[in-house]
């Protein structure tokens, strides 16, 4: 039996036990997927408490609808989608923070339309495994620093790879607003990363 079909077999077995209402199966599901899904919720939500709440809501919602899980996708993919939805719901209930600080990260221009601070190339050596990990952590930290309404759009479009229209529906805004925010979010992220990669230094 190949590796993947062993996994499939395990998943089918777990699914059967979940549908039979076996308590241990629920616990197994939470332990197996919880850590990874908590990290997904944490991308969208600014603090651990909110992320944990979203994870709890997501699992409860998954437990309720386990009978409707059709098995076309893997359990992990299905749960991932539910966690993203639960995180967006949670985000909506949070008071809107004043969106500050983004303008400082966007490129500035002179009155004649030229760059006030001309961009330079970034160093692009092939990084070692350790450097790649370090860069990944840095990028995640910088994404976390984006104001929520920009971070959310960037996560949904560039990381979750939803379409502009799907993102607009999730956030209840127009597709055009999604495009504007995504472009601003990417520019702001570029602004945050620039000092680290600029001109071959560091």
């Amino acid at each position: 039996m190949s590796g993947s079909s062993i996994l499939e077999e395990r998943e089918r077995n777990l699914l059967q036990r979940l549908r039979a209402g076996e308590d241990r199966a629920y616990e197994e599901l939470v332990r197996e997927h919880g850590g990874r899904l908590l990290a997904v919720a944490r991308r969208f939500l600014a603090n651990d408490e909110d992320a944990q709440d979203a994870l709890q809501e997501a699992f409860l919602s998954a437990f309720r609808s386990i009978d409707r899980f059709e098995g076309n996708s893997q359990l992990g993919t299905w749960l991932h989608r539910i966690v993203v939805n639960a995180s967006l719901m949670k985000l909506r209930t949070r008071k809107r923070h004043r969106e500050t600080g983004l303008d400082d990260l966007l490129p500035r221009f002179l009155d004649d339309g030229h760059h006030a601070e001309p961009a330079t190339d970034w160093r692009l050596e092939s990084p070692s495994e350790a450097e790649r990990k370090e860069t990944g952590a840095l990028v995640r930290k910088c994404i976390e620093r984006l104001p929520p309404m920009y971070r959310t759009v960037l996560l949904l479009r560039d990381i979750e790879e939803l379409s502009t229209e799907e993102t607009a529906r999730h956030l209840e805004v127009t597709p055009n607003a999604v495009k504007v925010r995504l472009h601003r979010a990417r520019q702001a992220l570029r602004g945050l990363l620039d000092p680290y990669f600029r001109g071959g230094a560091a």
Partner: protein, 80 residues
């Protein structure tokens, strides 16, 4: 001639191929004459790629789910 500010405004549409032909030509003419805008475009693209890479490994930001949270979730399930 398109300004740097306009190039930055149109950048996402340019990269996604949704810029009209005439604007596209203007855009590219500006790039030929403006190294800072070329750098901006390259670093913008790199930013998008770095964002994707940062979350591409399944365990890149995973943590262990706290035992207390597992208990809370299972307790909440029993309550409902």
């Amino acid at each position: 001639m398109m300004t740097c500010r306009e190039v930055v405004d149109f950048l996402m549409d340019y990269l996604s191929g949704s810029l009209a032909a005439a604007e596209r030509r203007e855009f590219e003419r500006h790039l030929e004459a403006c190294p800072p805008c070329v750098s901006f475009l390259k670093t913008y693209e790199r930013t998008v790629a770095l964002g994707k890479e940062a979350f591409s490994e399944p365990d890149s930001s995973a943590q262990k789910v706290p035992g207390e949270l597992v208990k809370a979730i299972l307790a909440a399930k029993r309550k409902r």
